[in-house]
Amino acid sequence: MTIGGVLLLYAIAVGVGGASWFRRAQWPARSPGLGIAAYLAAAWSALAALALAGVTLAVPTTALGGGLSNAIGACVRRLRAEYATPGGITFAVLGIAVAAALVLRVAGATIVQVSSMRRHARRQVALARLVGRPDPRLDALVVDDDQPTAFCIGGAQPTIVFTAAALEWLDPSQLEAVLAHERAHLAYRHHRLQAAARVLARTLPFVPLLRDAPDEIGRLVEMHADDAATRSHDRAVLATALVALATAPARPPALAVGATDAVARMRRLLTPPPPLTRRSRRAVSALVALLAVLPVVTAGIPALIALALGRVPPQ
């Protein structure tokens, strides 16, 4: 089997199998930070493997082969043999097209996502400053509205907003706990992770792992912020604040979304799962590193073989 095929199978395995594995996995809820890292690493890995599969298809029949062999000082014929693919030039063109399309899609989606995020955030902050009044005690803006809620806007001007109704609805300790949760979102720049997840979903919406990234990352950053908040605040207080704000009467009536997430978050706050042991944390970290480099290393294996064999002096 050629290396391009191996990379393609790897991309499919991670992109499809990885999604259902993550959906079932229990450990990310125990260490949401590591969960986020692992998910993003896996998604990147699948994407990189797909692009590199395209590149390797083109190595044997194009100038790429000659250039690569010059660069590593290996024999061209040997290199071509190692990267051999059936189909010749057709596959080479196809491979390069796939790789280029992927790179362009990621670049395009990143530009669109970042500029739209900045534009929205700027307008939202301007609106919040316009209609809100600063509350020096909370270091947040308070907006006169009768729907109790709290939110934060990440970006160049990190902003936390409470509605006046939220201040009435929550007692002071609950308010502090919610504030700590929102501060964690801003401190850890969770909006960037969300943006990265959306770039992945935009790039290849038909790959389950990438398609689900915004939802999965969204769930995990909430847990991550909950954990940060409960380091200095009582878990039960944050849980009751969550229930109070989630169950407050909505106007217009809320659509049926997110209840399972809210229930899971509340249960997790009240009966926290044990954090991962040091050993499991190391294992997951190793997995993250492996996912990040595996496609590149795999794509490079034939070049290394050609390098080793090509350098053998002729008899």
């Binding site: 609805w169 039960a236 407050a248 909505a250 209840a259 809210a262």
Partner: protein
């Protein structure tokens, strides 16, 4: 902005300055620059009043608040990923489910009272 929202009709820069000077002293040009910026950004409309511009807010405070809240409570993607709500609101049926789950989870420890809305 608050001064302009409170006023029933468009205000001249010197009207705003006079109102603000009750609280703190500001230069005429400072106020003029701020109002001109607000106009350029679309927050204020202006019309000729003799040789000066008279300004009024493009929309009411309530309309701006409604716009911000609509984005904050929205569950769709078009508000941009920068805004994160603490928890999404749910339908009454889901709310019952969540309250029930809370009651089950806190059956043993003392229950916190939820403060009713006072207004």
């Amino acid at each position: 902005m608050a001064r302009l929202w409170a006023a029933p009709e468009p205000l001249l820069v010197r009207d705003v300055l006079a109102a603000l000077e009750l609280e703190r002293s500001l230069a005429y040009t400072t106020v003029m620059t701020v109002m001109d910026n607000l106009h350029r950004k679309g927050w204020l409309q202006r019309e000729r009043n003799g040789r000066a511009w008279a300004y009024r807010p493009t929309r009411t405070q309530g309309e701006y608040t409604a716009e911000l809240m609509r984005e904050a409570l929205s569950t769709s993607d078009d508000r941009g990923p920068a805004l994160a709500q603490f928890v999404a609101r749910m339908s009454p049926a889901e709310a019952d489910l969540l309250r029930q789950a809370l009651d089950e989870a806190t059956a043993a420890p003392p229950k916190r009272s939820r403060k009713p809305r006072s207004s």
